[in-house]
């Protein structure tokens, strides 16, 4: 009896405490974004003043536009490059595929600060002043790997016999790829694109090293605001970002399911 109790309750306690700690900082940001007072520890009534302050701050709203722009271009570039890479590398014979897979993994295993320093030095070496362009190039570099790894996992799970059947029916290799494999891959490509958008929009470390002094993306702007003392309007900005990320992640998770795939698309996040 006693053991039965332990068995049934312990997992609930473990998960309860864990999720409490996991969500408490996020909940605090959301709660205090609606605080009427300036305090970050005492809630003195509901107010939207920090949202008003955020939306009337031209530098901050400009950063939102910059971040959207960068994320959109980086998404497009990395999805095209990464999809071609994943398809090519998974089909090619011999050692080339393994080599390509290895090269793809390195950026994902490298701490962002190293990538940031390296990108900054490269652009300086090439004589390009940090700007929107350098920021986008650096973000593509990081995201290509991400897209390629997600898609290669999915390509490995696709049944190659379907493509072969198409070719038996007279399709060329390209037709089989275009008419059979790519449509089967499309939901995952779309989901990967959304995830890349969210990651690039939120990225701070790489952006801090490669963006110039003009057109700073939102996380870099937030970082400097945080360094010069904590401002309550950061809570409002943070909450807006959280809401945006949540919508994107829900979309990415739901996509494979909408297209009739089994599972939740969580394997996208875990890179399984």
């Amino acid at each position: 009896m006693k053991r039965g109790l332990v068995k049934s309750r312990l997992p609930f306690v473990v998960l309860g405490v864990f999720f409490l700690v996991l969500y408490a900082p996020i909940a605090a940001v959301v709660l205090f974004s609606f605080n009427a007072g300036k305090s970050l520890s005492a809630f003195s009534g509901f107010s939207l003043r920090w949202y008003r302050e955020f939306f009337s701050d031209g530098a901050l709203t400009g950063s939102v536009a910059t971040s959207v722009q960068v994320a959109a271009v980086a998404m497009a570039g990395s999805v095209v490059l990464g999809t071609a890479m994943a398809v090519g590398a998974s089909r090619v014979r011999g050692r080339f595929g393994a080599f390509a897979g290895f090269v793809t993994l390195i950026p994902l295993l490298t701490p962002e600060i190293v990538t940031g320093v390296a990108s900054l030095l490269l652009f300086k070496g090439l004589g390009i002043t940090p700007s929107l362009l350098t920021l986008i190039l650096a973000e593509i570099t990081f995201s290509v790997s991400y897209v390629a790894v997600i898609l290669r996992a999915r390509l490995a799970a696709l049944n190659p016999e379907v493509e072969e059947a198409a070719m038996d029916l007279g399709a060329t290799r390209w037709q089989a790829l275009r008419l059979v494999t790519l449509p089967a891959l499309a939901p995952v490509v779309l989901a990967a694109a959304i995830l890349v958008f969210a990651l690039v929009f939120d990225d701070f470390v790489l952006a801090a090293f490669t963006s110039g002094t003009d057109d700073q993306p939102l996380p870099v702007r937030i970082y400097s605001a945080m360094r010069f003392g904590i401002r309550p309007s950061i809570n409002a900005v943070g909450t807006v970002m959280l809401a945006g990320s949540a919508v994107l992640i829900a979309l990415a998770l739901a996509l494979p399911r909408l297209f009739g795939r089994r599972g939740t698309g969580l394997d996208l996040l875990s890179g399984e």
Binding site: L15, A84, G88, T110, P111, E112, I113, L137
Partner: protein, 279 residues
């Protein structure tokens, strides 16, 4: 067939070339500049001059490096201690809510890292809710922020999802028949857990350890917002050299040092994995 193979290779080539230039090329530049110097105006100049590495020999840098490794190691251990029961609870008792629970673990990871750290530092602040609770207790620390524990906790908070996912995947792949066999051999619940489940899933913990240790070692946000001058990590020094100090060759040398440590860890992990597959 051979002709097709070349076609496929051509498809992969643009991205490979991109990574070759913008990633590997850039890393080589870091290596090159770490042997550079600065001109009187403070601009970095390429040279063959090991003076940056000589500077790194100074005890202050060794201290920061050791501290970074200790913090990252402690955070990784903390992640493992937290992640294993969480992953186990979800895998064994999650039932039809498994996917929802894993989603609940992953989603905060997509919240902006800065915002999460900011929320964490607000909770731990001197006037914050955690300290107010601690203040009622007859014992407890005088403050939370600007302590090593806060930085380690921040790192663990930031990267714990990288530990939970591989451990969960390992637990999910574990055949329940193996656990039943342990029970059939009269192992108690605990004995089966310790002698069967944990060893059978340790590769998940190893993978998680690499995935948390690598980003934690290079992190500078946690130490900046949760620590003080006594808690600076190698990432903070790199950032300072590039943004404020302007000593880029020294910053590059610090980056090389960081990379070297991480390459050693990764190689160690891969070799360990290879040995596992051989045996």
């Amino acid at each position: 067939m051979r002709r097709h193979s070349r076609l496929w290779a051509a498809l992969a080539l643009p991205a490979l070339a991109w990574l070759g230039v913008f990633f590997l090329g850039a890393i080589l530049l870091v290596l090159a500049l770490s042997f550079g110097t600065t001109d009187p105006l403070g601009n970095p100049v390429f040279a063959v001059d090991p003076s940056s590495y000589r500077t790194l020999m100074e005890p202050v840098y060794a201290r920061v490096l050791v501290r970074s490794l200790l913090y990252a190691g402690a955070a990784t251990a903390l992640c493992a201690v937290v992640a294993y029961p969480v992953a186990y609870s979800i895998a064994r008792y999650g039932g039809r809510f498994k996917n929802v629970l894993i989603a609940a673990v992953v989603v905060p990871f997509f919240a902006n890292y800065l915002v999460r750290m900011y929320g964490w530092s607000a909770l731990l602040a001197d006037e914050g809710p955690v300290m107010r609770v601690v203040g009622w207790l007859p014992f407890g620390p005088e403050r939370m922020v600007s302590t090593a524990a806060a930085v380690v906790g921040g790192l663990a908070y930031g990267f714990v999802v990288f530990m939970i996912l591989p451990v969960y995947a390992a637990l999910e792949r574990l055949d329940p028949a193996v656990i039943e066999a342990g029970r059939d051999l009269y192992g108690s619940r605990l004995a089966t857990f310790v002698t069967v489940t944990v060893p059978a899933t340790r590769h998940g913990v190893y993978a998680g350890a690499v995935l948390t240790f690598l980003p934690a070692t290079g992190d500078f946000v946690s130490a900046q917002f949760l620590g003080g001058p006594e808690q600076l990590m190698i990432g903070n020094l790199v950032q300072e050299k590039f943004f404020a100090g302007q000593d880029w060759p020294l910053g590059a040398a610090l980056t090389v040092l960081l990379m070297a440590v991480l390459v050693l860890c990764t190689v160690g992990y891969v070799r360990q994995g290879v040995r596992r597959e051989v045996s």
